[in-house]
Symmetry: C2
Subunit: 342 residues, 2 copies
């Protein structure tokens, strides 16, 4: 399972990194389960459900790989790296659970979402349970460094989500605001994962900042691709409800580009989709037409090019790091963001 998780992003070419990452991610999974275990059976049932949400484990992988890349002794990690990696996965899982409530999603990682299965109430509370346990675990460390840094990131994540809600159904959304939303809601936590992976080794500030930048740019690229997959992916491959962004009035990069150039009829097609009044079969036909429209107008290419530019920026940000297999893996992870299909 942990090994699969690594491979989803980028298979490390160096076997020692591959083995170490797989082992560490296994420990993250174990720690995750131990921390969330409750004396209440009804709570354990809910937790078991969301453990199936686990996907790419991008955030813990970032903590661990940046930790390896900044280690004074090659590949060496501290115990705190595993703790922080687990915390970031909990925080991320909490945002997924609450996002599904916001999006009224019914499928996640190929299974029914918690809100669909158990109602919004349980999903809201289980998200809170995850966040609370994340902070609890984080405050078990000796210093407040990780708690402060992660809480700072979650402040930003929440403000990004609120900004996105504020711009729901805003068909005039500009690119700058789109990138501001993405930077806050997704990229800030990725940046923090990388920064902490480095800081737990007491690196100089400029090194930690370089790694933050790497994570932030990678996170922006990741979200651009995520938004693209929502419009153009196959539900069976991606494993979650697709087409929700338009349905929920979320305007993403290819759509912003398309709305700029398209005619009245096409604009109508895009905006209609969000009201979800058409029957399911009609909806599916519309989804196909929208996909073709975005491709024909070069809007998919436009978004992919943006993602590629952020990946290049991410790699530049860690150029000064001494060469190592861990650094190579960070490069590979950045590249893998562009080729993922789920």
């Amino acid at each position: 399972m942990a090994n699969d998780a690594v491979n989803l992003l980028a298979a490390p070419t160096d076997t020692s990194i591959s083995d170490l990452l797989a082992r560490e991610l296994c420990q993250v999974e174990q720690r995750f389960a131990i921390e969330l275990e409750s004396g209440l059976e009804c709570v354990n049932t809910l937790v078991a459900h969301i453990e199936r949400y686990r996907g790419k484990m991008l955030r813990p992988t970032l903590v661990l790989t940046t930790g390896m890349a900044c280690a004074p002794t090659p590949l060496q990690l501290t115990d705190d790296h595993c703790v922080v990696a687990t915390v970031t996965e909990m925080v991320h899982m909490a945002t997924l659970v609450h996002d599904d409530v916001l999006d009224e999603a019914t499928v996640r990682r190929g299974g029914a979402t918690l809100n669909h299965l158990r109602g919004n109430e349980s999903a809201v509370m289980l998200g809170d349970y995850l966040i609370s346990h994340a902070y609890h675990l984080c405050s078990s460390l000796d210093t407040t460094l990780a708690s402060r840094t992660i809480a700072d990131a979650t402040n930003t994540v929440c403000s990004g989500e609120l900004l996105q809600l504020h711009h729901r159904d805003n068909w005039e959304l500009d690119e700058a605001t789109y990138f501001e939303i993405v930077r806050r809601k997704t990229a800030s936590l990725c940046g923090t994962c990388c920064q902490l992976g480095a800081m737990l080794h007491d690196v100089p500030d400029h090194v930690a900042q370089g790694l933050y930048d790497y994570g932030e740019k990678l996170g922006i690229a990741f979200q651009i691709v995520d938004d693209l997959l929502d419009l153009t992916g196959m539900e069976q491959t991606v494993g979650k409800t697709l087409g929700l962004d338009l349905k929920n009035g979320k305007v993403t990069l290819p759509v912003i580009r398309c709305l700029r150039d398209c005619d009245e009829h096409e604009r109508h097609l895009l905006i209609e989709q969000c009201h979800g009044t058409s029957r399911e079969t009609a909806m599916r036909a519309d989804t196909d037409r929208i996909r073709r429209l975005l491709e024909d107008r070069g809007c998919v290419r436009y978004a992919v090019d943006h993602a590629a530019a952020f990946v290049a920026d991410a790699k530049s940000a860690i150029d000064a790091l001494p060469d190592s297999p861990a650094k190579d893996h960070l490069f590979d992870m950045a590249d893998a963001v562009l080729t993922r299909t789920y």
Copy 2:
């Protein structure tokens, strides 16, 4: 405003405490506003709305008063007391915002709830924004003591909410489970407020434990009365949507007692209420009948007696504290739980 807030619970008879509490609560309010301020206007609008939720400020008052009662120099508080008091108010406010989503409440503190006004999505996210800022503020302290203790309490609060959801529509709910829910979802945070108020003065463990017990018992009494007010209070006085517990399938102490003794017809009346199928006027008539039923059967008295017993336990738990005006005020606060009408 802060002065009002103090008086809601119990007007301190000692003017020096009264003044100091009012001053400190003012600082808590200021800190609260400063911490939540965002560079995003849309976030500030939402935060301004929930600041109107502010009510009794029970939790910060507990932190501050226990701090005064345990001070090495009479009434002296540390800077950390204000920080922790603000954190507990943020955590509590977050639970209110998420509770309103869970309960589909439309009125809180005499105004429209956020979920009613801005949709569940904003309410979920604003709750997360509050929790995140609470932890961020808490991790600004020098040690992880407060973060760890508060996160431990919020773990328990969330598990209590999940336990309550699990028992929704369980008309066979027993008293032991009701008290377990109340202990977790309400009393644990009150206990933690008192424990931290003491611990920030480096008191011995048994003293901190005594204060935890005081807060926990007071919290249980507070929740019993809160549940009673939902059934028997006047909406205009209480300032929030009432009758929601039955409507949402939440079985509370007087109802548990009543269901034990009532006949089939009365049982039907109680359970019907939760389905909310009757028209609004019929619902109001039913509410009046339920209120009379609970009073006639002595179930209101039964719940009040329980609350009174917990208040007595709360006071016993701090018996060993040296006499002081602050200790007197803790006694008064416990008594005031029984006489509040909102």
